[in-house]
Symmetry: C4
């Protein structure tokens, strides 16, 4: 931050406010953005409740317009203030920003596209961008590392669960008849997953003795199988706990050229594109 040249003028200023959180302005911007995102998500929820929507439709819509305009301005500012705008536009957050901003505009252009308004709940994903800057980053990154390290084992586990569900579902389709809800193999597989994961809705449940016996086996399997991901993640956490100290302090600065993040405090050039920070 210290060695940033002031010659990029207002663009650099906006970049600092919008993309970073090391300056007071940047922090304030993030807090306002956070509140607006949460408010807007609550608005989307309230609109979906018919009674509330009927009563307070106008207030909700006005608030929605205020927030949408703020997000539109922010979206344009993000494009303008970055050196390589297309990198931002086609990045994950760029796309999220766009599709969580435009539904309100579209709903006026195309009739029947009101359904799209619920898409605005995706704005919640934007919270991740802000929270990345928050204190408990360390905790989250330890979580992420533990999950990444056990990725392959978890994949094997999920694969095994799916195979088991398909086979158990098919067997139940043969054993039980349509009246109990096992009308097709996909539905029976759905039942098998509902049972294996111990969710157990009860919308489809075996009626025959043989079906209940097989269901019993699926349940005990599911009850036992849950030990596997737990064992994987726990042993990974225990390992992680021992190597926790070798963390490097990263700051919240993002490269003004390629917008990549996670630079060290002492870094003066972007580790990705090499341009000055």
């Amino acid at each position: 931050m210290k060695n940033k040249k002031p010659n990029q003028g207002w663009k650099s200023k906006i970049h600092e406010i919008i993309y970073e959180a090391d300056t007071p302005m940047g922090k304030w911007f993030d807090i306002v953005l956070f509140i607006l995102i949460i408010t807007s998500v609550i608005l989307v929820m309230l609109e979906s409740v018919k009674e509330i929507d009927t009563k307070y439709h106008d207030i909700l819509l006005s608030l929605e317009w205020v927030i949408t305009i703020f997000f539109t301005v922010e979206y344009i500012a993000r494009i303008v203030s970055i050196k390589k705008p297309f990198k931002y536009i086609f990045s994950f957050y760029g796309i999220i920003d766009l599709i969580s901003t435009i539904p309100l505009y579209i709903s006026y252009i195309f009739a029947g596209s009101q359904v799209l308004l619920a898409v605005r709940a995706l704005r919640l994903l934007r919270v991740f961008r802000i929270l990345k800057l928050v204190q408990f980053l360390g905790e989250a990154s330890q979580l992420t590392r533990a999950l990444k390290a056990s990725r392959a084992k978890i994949a094997v586990f999920i694969y095994a669960v799916l195979i088991l569900s398909v086979i158990m579902g098919t067997i139940m389709y043969l054993v039980e008849d349509d009246a109990a809800g096992f009308t097709s193999i996909p539905r029976s597989i759905y039942w098998a997953i509902v049972t294996l994961t111990t969710v157990g809705y009860g919308d489809i449940a075996p009626q025959t003795s043989l079906g209940q016996l097989i269901a019993t086996i699926v349940m005990i399997l599911g009850y036992g199988i849950i030990a596997v991901p737990t064992g994987i993640v726990t042993s990974e956490f225990t390992k992680q706990g021992n190597t926790e100290e070798d963390k490097i302090h990263l700051n919240t600065q993002s490269c003004p050229t390629c917008s990549c993040e996670g630079h060290r405090d002492e870094a003066s050039h972007c580790f990705n594109c090499g341009s000055e920070l």
Copy 2:
């Protein structure tokens, strides 16, 4: 206890009986209080069962009056015997004591306030004050320490579960129609949490193929995600197990001035307000 001056007279005596458990009288008081609390909570439960309330209304009410009067006397004694009564009155347990004692009086003053009587179940919280003095304090405090140490990680985890629920709930609101119970986004989020936590009531369940496919993903996520808090707490417990020996013996004495607790056996002054113990 030994170096307590006898010049505070009966107030000091009552303080010792009510607030501490090191003397025989103090122990007896705690046991009687414990039995009365459990009895009164059972009374509250029985009153709520219509058949029982109709039959034994008078007996239940008489017993309730006996217990309420005891609690009233105890509440006044607690205020009188302490040096800074307002500190007690506005403390967590002070408020609990008050709101678990007055409902019976209020129900005679204001008609329709019978609903408040159920508030008396909060008396159960008072059991914690007594149990703090019990043998297995060590175990509980180890539990508490393990949970405290993993507080930040658990917060990140709960946050992730909530975000996931909101997004999955919104997707299901778009995919499923009202007939299946997905009438609004909040209800769909409720469904998502019911499914993610593997509770699975079945009051709201997906009906369409696409909905069931997405539900399947939510279930497997929920089934796998449970490994995360387990991993966190387990690795914390394993750590705690290694440092278990360095416990300091605390006694049940509480400061007569500020009523704070957890003094060491050898302490002669309150570590909080500095007044003599």
Copy 3:
């Protein structure tokens, strides 16, 4: 076994067959007993299924009589062959043996006592006595030791779950109305436990928005709380794993005087009553 004197004649012989499993005869007796117990439990189950009972009543009853007579003879032999019969009669297994043998006799003496026949399913508990002698004793005892070591922690945990259920149940009783199934506090507590343990029958489920919000909190609590017993038991298992080698080899001999078990191979006197083995 080697230093047992032969002067106790046939009683000692029967004692060896019935109570021990070191001799070929003793092993055969245990295997026959095991098969009879399993058969008799299956018989009890089949009798409870109305269709099967109507069709095969006579066959089931005959088989039941054969097994009951065998158990009667065994029960008498157990009493006769032991030096202190009353110790056996009033021991846990002595009582189980009696109440799992007599229901058939009683059902002929008192009309309407057919209900008692289901009590015979308790015979299953007798399997534990036999299995104690089986190979995987070591595994089971490690399990038992791990559970014993974490007994106090598990008690604190169950206590906390119960308190939480009572408070959450009472809150839900106030929030939800009778139509949703929350007709009394005990029923609401039942709902709270069903939800906290992630069983989720769905016979009682919140209908109002506030009720669903509170239910959501209970679910996430329950989903997270499960990490606690898992953490306790796992950390205990990991400890146990390190001290597994220091097992003492125990044999299946039981004292002919007081019938207590778990004697070391080299023992020549009962560690409990001091009489010769």
Copy 4:
């Protein structure tokens, strides 16, 4: 692979393609086979959905014939190219290959045997043979080793769960009446397992106060018991993690005589039958 003699001609060539994955041809064969298996399983599922089957019956059937003929050719090639064909035919995968290939033929010979068509979902098991060759073999084998090492403990655990279910089921059969769904002891045991494993369909649920109290105990037991398999597997995983480095690199070659697998890279003779690789 390098020291294989070319004198076995085309049989050896086919053996290499079908049974192994070290050559480019072998890899391609495996990929094609994998796609065909997945396609065919999806076909079986789609056929079971009545609406889809009615509309696209002819397309589904044609595709099914193409795949069945491919599998038939493959099955014959497997028999021809191996030295001891009967060993393959009566091996686990040999039987799976046969019974997942013939249902379509049989459905034309015997009327009413259409039910058998669902058996083709067993083709999914064949995926395991292919995946054995895939990268994450190491992960899967670690999983398998951890589960094998805790086999005995898991057996004790499942046995305890079953005993508990039988006893709890019997008690509930005595306590609850038929109206609540507890019509026979086997059904009550089914309920006990549904509750213990926290699946909780809700198709059978206690109605009386006593029944709900007992159900509550079963739930808390089930909620706590899940800690046991988790503890077992986790402590096993933690152990495995420490000994992970001593893995021997195995290749995908299979013996041309006895088709057993898992040969070391440097092996020149089958470790099972001694014939040259």
